[in-house]
Amino acid sequence: MVLVLALGDLHIPHRAPDLPAKFKSMLVPGKIQHVICTGNLSIKEVHDYLKTLCPDLHITRGEYDEDTRYPETKTLTIGQFKLGLCHGHQVVPWGDLDSLAMLQRQLDVDILVTGHTHQFTAYKHEGGVVINPGSATGAFSNITYDANPSFVLMDIDGLRVVVYVYELIDGEVKVDKIDFKKTTATTHSAH
């Protein structure tokens, strides 16, 4: 039972001052084992805050990140799943499933987490699953002004993943979930 927090596109301080208060009250240290962040934090203070939630933090570079040392893509293995992380502005057309599927095949991962569109989506295709956690602060994007703050928490338990989607709609936190199972176990031995 591993809890993985996926979020991104906070754009603090340029487009938003902070995470919504209701989100912040829920995100307490000690519950989450891994944090993966698609990028565009954009400053070090946000990095430090995420680090307090959980010491195992993975970030990929977004185009507005002030720290240039983050990698473009990242892969990690959690339990039986391989996760891939990328900000998404590199994948053109932005948010297009076919192109993202291509990236997923390149990274050879079961779950690909990307951002940039500031819209929550979750797709399934032959190669695996693509999840976009949206913008955790609801910052406006290149494409749209209207973005609901959202993030994703994945509960990885063996071959099954439950994806909890947290959205702030009209000032209230709404939680949905998505269930999916992996059909075969990874052949990798070491994690």
């Binding site: 039972m1 989506t121 979750a122 797709y123 399934k124 509960d155 099954r160 939680v175 998505i178 269930d179």
Partner: protein, 470 residues
């Protein structure tokens, strides 16, 4: 005249060494048994103990009984009354002196003590309905280390096994399945719980309809349960709150008795024992939200589990975890209030127990009490807190503390009173050093109690029972 077949464990070459006394004893022994209606022919008490009894050193109690018994009585309680006499208030001094001489006289005599106890216990345990009063009297003298006797006697003393032997198997089965259910319910993590909840609510969405591409369907969460939930009744929230306690339990279990291979080390045996301890403590903490887990409970649990796990009977050993859980609950029921901080100052709390110890000391040894309380101002809390809450497991080595527990558990009124008497005896035994010492040396002595003869300690404690100060 021997009416019934001599059981194998009595039939050893050792009996032939002293023919006169043995035959004398034999006749008496069997007459005694034939006079009791309730007992069956002497069978070895535990089925698996039978073979062991044959291989063991058979009881040599006849040596000991001859000098001790003033006259042979044919009534039912002859044996137990002898033992009882040695300890009770109304005993004649001659018997006590006899016993003291016997204790100090010969080393073989003291091991013969054990063997005589063993015989008595085996006799008692072989009855169809065990007389608890008699069992307690015999057990308070000490239980021998062999043939899993201690494991069975402790279970009887703690009320886990009923006195009626025919009920044992059904009781055991019931309790063990109950523990199994507890474990299943309480040791499940929230992911599994939500999965089971969903199954019962029929949300079994099997994505067998594997379309190659689709937007993944979002579904509602059941009962508002999600991992970051802050609700009081949320299983996730409770899980995270419990995880602190579980961490504490983990730490303490790893630190239990680091010098014993049974409990610590890298062997898979030690690891499985630690796992069992951990499970018991977690189940206990979850079932008792009022008291949860307090540091020190692992120390009280350790001897229980050790004794039950070392039972030579395979079935008992396999279910040691379940048995230990219930006996632990029973043992702790008398002492729970010591672990509850709010009750510290109440009548049932630890402070009042310490005060009672202080009064006991004053009653029996006023000079020492005055020296400790008034002259050197040693607050009894500094030394007796650990003695009382941890039932003396930390003051003596492991085997010694198990012997002390034999006496503690056999007290019909509960271990509390005997515990205080033993603590008082501990103080009295080192009184000379205490009277000569100042605050620092007294505390140093009492917090690292010197190794002492346990039988002597228990003997002094027994003498304190109900007697006014000397």
């Amino acid at each position: 005249m021997v009416k019934k077949k001599v059981p194998d464990w009595l039939n050893s070459s050792l009996w032939s060494s002293t023919t006169t006394t043995s035959s004398y004893y034999d006749t008496n022994h069997f007459d005694h048994h034939s006079s009791t209606s309730a007992s069956t022919p002497i069978d070895p008490p535990l089925p698996s103990a039978a073979t062991r009894d044959e291989q063991q050193h058979p009881p040599r109690h006849h040596h000991n009984y001859h000098p001790r018994k003033p006259d042979i009585k044919e009534d039912k309680h002859s044996k137990s009354s002898i033992v009882n006499d040695n300890i009770s208030n109304n005993s004649s001094n001659s018997i006590i002196n006899n016993k003291i001489e016997n204790r100090k006289a010969d080393n073989t005599e003291s091991s013969a003590d054990d063997i005589s106890n063993q015989a008595l216990l085996l006799t008692e345990l072989s009855r169809k309905v065990i007389n608890m009063g008699e069992l307690r009297r015999i057990a308070s003298q000490g239980i021998p280390d062999c043939a899993g006797i201690r494991s069975t006697v402790w279970k009887l003393l703690l009320g886990y096994l009923p006195p009626d032997r025919s009920l044992w198997s059904s009781e055991l089965a019931k309790k063990r399945s109950q523990y199994k259910r507890f474990k299943e319910e309480l040791l499940m993590n929230p992911s599994e719980i939500t999965r089971r909840l969903e199954k019962t609510m029929g949300f079994d969405n099997d994505d067998a309809k594997s379309e190659s591409r689709c937007v993944l369907a979002r579904s509602k969460i059941t009962h508002g349960e999600h991992p970051l939930s802050l609700g009081k009744s949320s299983i996730w929230n409770k899980f995270f709150q419990d995880s602190e306690i579980i961490e504490q339990i983990d730490r303490d279990v790893k630190r239990t008795h680091p010098d014993m291979h049974f409990f610590s080390g890298d062997s898979s045996f030690a690891k499985s024992n630690q796992e069992a301890l951990r499970n018991i403590l977690i189940v206990f903490a979850k079932l008792n939200p009022g008291i949860r887990y307090v540091q020190g409970m692992n120390e009280i649990l350790a001897p229980l589990f050790y004794v039950f796990k070392n039972d030579p009977d395979e079935e008992m050993e396999a279910c040691a975890e379940a048995d230990t859980f219930f006996c632990f609950v029973e043992l702790l029921s008398g002492f729970r209030d010591h672990f509850c901080q709010q009750l510290d100052n109440s009548v049932v709390g630890i402070r009042s127990a310490i005060t009672r110890l202080s009064h006991l000391l004053k009653e029996h040894d006023e000079e020492l009490w005055r020296h400790l309380e008034v002259t050197t101002k040693v607050n009894p809390q500094f030394y007796s807190f650990r003695w009382i809450t941890l039932l003396l497991t930390q003051e003596f080595n492991f085997t010694d503390s198990i012997h002390i527990w034999d006496t503690l558990l056999s007290d019909p009124e509960g271990p509390q009173e005997t515990l205080l008497r033993v603590c008082c005896a501990m103080l009295i035994l080192v009184r000379r050093r205490l009277l000569a010492g100042d605050f620092t040396s007294i505390l140093k002595l009492l917090q690292h109690y010197p190794p002492t003869s346990i039988s002597h300690l228990l003997y002094v404690a027994g003498k304190l029972h109900g007697q006014p100060s000397h």
